[in-house]
């Protein structure tokens, strides 16, 4: 679950990472002096999209952003600074060890930066003085201890899968401020953090669903097969509207829910469904599709193979829903239709 910037910064404050003074608001407010007004949305690239404004007139900036459909704003004091650096913490998948990622070039897209260093800090010992010293020397910045320890705690105590400060501002007199926050809490560990969910009034989504910008609805079973289906649609000239994995052993209710959800996306013109029944039963899938098609009116192309496939085909046939046994033909026909 990705946190909003202001939520991430509340956690920062709580664990001792300094942030600029600020307020969260949903309407224009009065503000003395120079400030930064930042749209609170979950998508990245706000700067490039003009959703972050440095201004003397906060009221006007909020009104302007409101006209773009933004309804939550973080207003912060403007921090003059001489340097911006990058710091984040996450778990390295290969070593199963937390790492701190640092770069003396903050405020940019970290992926395109060549100047990045990774510091491994094993779980058994946690952050030590020499870790901090090594990172400070690399970045040529002093006073990082509370920030490194804070980021590390976000990963090891709050179950963040990513805790990122980009940029961390260094002022001329050496004070540090996290100007932005990106904190993604691990969905699977949220049961340990009910207090945070309550505090932020958030509920994580349980579905394996990702929205994309095309017009062909994609449903599959199993993450790998669903991704592969998405990729094949793209390779064959179509544009996927989503990724929806109904998961292993999906019953008719789950399938029905998925088809209705994808079918009711106004951008979706047709649906491609790719099912290989292992523990999932094809007859259950077929019944789910038939149920959903009492409401959904868009064309659907179903590839159905595996456990109980004959029963599944029969159900689809009786309900005049075309089916395929081969995914490539199914996708091809769908794209040509």
């Amino acid at each position: 679950m990705k946190l909003y910037e202001y939520e991430g910064k509340e956690l920062f404050k709580q664990i001792g990472i300094p942030v600029p003074k600020g307020v969260v608001t949903d309407k224009p407010i009065k503000w003395e002096g120079k400030a930064v007004v930042k749209a609170q949305i979950l998508e990245g690239g706000r700067g490039k999209r003009g959703l972050v404004k440095v201004t003397e007139n906060v009221e006007e900036a909020i009104l302007e952003l409101s006209r773009l459909g933004i309804n939550k704003f973080l207003v912060e004091e403007y921090i003059p600074h001489e340097k911006e650096i990058y710091l984040s913490a996450l778990i390295d998948r290969d070593t199963a060890e937390p790492i701190i990622v640092a770069s003396p070039e903050g405020g940019i897209d970290i992926e395109s930066s060549k100047n990045v260093k990774i510091f491994h800090i094993p779980l058994e010992r946690g952050v030590r003085g020499y870790d901090v010293l090594k990172i400070e020397k690399y970045l040529n910045v002093k006073g990082l201890e509370p920030i490194i320890k804070g980021l590390y705690r976000l990963v090891t105590e709050y179950d963040a899968e990513l805790a990122e400060i980009n940029p961390l501002a260094v002022t001329t007199d050496g004070r540090l401020y996290a100007l932005d926050s990106k904190v993604i809490l691990e969905d699977n560990a949220l049961f340990r953090h009910q207090d945070l969910l309550e505090k932020f009034g958030r509920q994580p989504s349980k579905e394996a669903y990702v929205e994309l910008d095309g017009d062909i609805g994609i449903i599959g079973n199993g993450a790998g097969l669903t991704m592969a289906t998405m990729d094949m649609v793209k390779l064959m000239g179509g544009n996927p509207a989503d990724f929806y994995d109904v998961g292993g052993g999906a019953d008719r209710e789950k399938v029905k829910e998925a088809v209705i959800k994808i079918g009711s996306n106004p951008r979706v013109k047709k649906i491609i469904m790719n099912i290989y029944g292992g523990i999932t039963r094809c007859d259950e899938v077929a019944l789910g599709i038939v149920e959903a098609y009492k409401v959904v009116k868009k064309p659907i192309f179903v590839r159905l193979s595996g456990t109980n496939e004959e029963e599944g085909w029969k159900i689809l046939e009786e309900n005049k829903i075309p089916y395929y046994t081969d995914a490539i033909t199914c996708i091809g026909d769908a794209l040509r239709s």
């Binding site: 990702v210 790998g224 990724f243 029944g277």
Partner: protein
């Protein structure tokens, strides 16, 4: 598993000790089960919140192979469990895996039997259904020696590199199919070994997730790209540079073998 011929000698469910399921005796603890039977492997179906306990219990009882089917175990828990297992000399397969199957011999997992036939292709995969698909495609012409799902999570007990090395040494396996996806750098590390000449057998690869947007999790907890590590492009490049044929769709794999 019983139907497939796997000798399931004991089950463990706290509070159900003394009962039987399909003729298999149930115990309250793994320790009790180990006292009564000779046990080579354990399979864990326990819900995510309690799964780490079940894995620790199996490790402490000295079981050397632990297959964890459970999905949604927190990464931090797995990071600790995996380390503990390594120290104690137990091998974990998974979590979030369909398991391991040696066709017509043994199954520790939830693979459906239909796509499998004894043969010479070793398949290692981060996926479930996609593995069944690929297995079925190579079933008639080649058959499979061993099929291992390593699991779709960011941290797994046994990674693709280890399995590829084992396949390379396995006399039953003639060629290797790897089914990867975006996120992590396992596929890149397999490519590196191949490029260095450390893997002798033929490898064919498929990678899912070409169209996945960055930082979006595609169903599997492990199918997500952070910091630009493990993108589709980096995997394809590494594999191709190592001379490993890469299938553009999973259905192309049999042609490349």
């Amino acid at each position: 598993m019983l139907d497939y011929g796997t000798k399931v000698v004991a089950g463990v469910t706290p509070g159900k000790g003394g009962t039987t399921v399909h003729g298999v005796p149930v115990y309250d603890t793994v320790e009790e089960a180990v006292k009564e039977h000779e046990i080579d492997a354990s399979i864990v179906f326990v819900p995510a919140r309690f799964a780490p306990d079940a894995i620790y219990e199996a490790i402490d009882a000295g079981i050397k192979l632990i297959v964890v089917i459970t999905e949604h175990i927190p990464v931090l828990d797995m990071a600790k469990v995996v380390k503990y297992a390594r120290e104690k000399g137990s091998r974990i397969i998974g979590p979030n895996t369909p398991g391991i199957i040696v066709p017509e011999e043994s199954l520790v997992g939830i693979f459906p039997p239909r796509p499998f036939r004894k043969g010479k292709i070793g398949i290692v995969s981060r996926s479930g259904t996609l593995t069944y698909e690929v297995a079925e495609m190579v079933k008639e012409k080649f058959g499979q020696s061993t099929v291992i799902g390593i699991g779709g999570d960011p941290i797994v007990g046994t990674d693709m590199v280890e399995v590829v090395k084992m396949f390379d040494e396995d006399p039953e396996t003639e060629s290797i199919v790897i089914i990867g996806e975006i996120g992590g750098t396992m596929e890149e590390r397999v490519a590196k070994l191949k490029a260095e000449g450390k893997i002798k057998k033929k490898i064919v690869a498929y990678i899912a997730g070409m169209t996945a947007p960055k930082e979006k999790r595609m169903g599997h907890a492990g199918a997500v790209v952070y910091m630009g590590m493990g993108t589709f492009e980096s995997k394809i490049k590494a594999l191709k540079d190592a001379g490993i044929p890469v299938a553009t769709t999973p259905y192309e794999i049999p042609k490349l073998l």
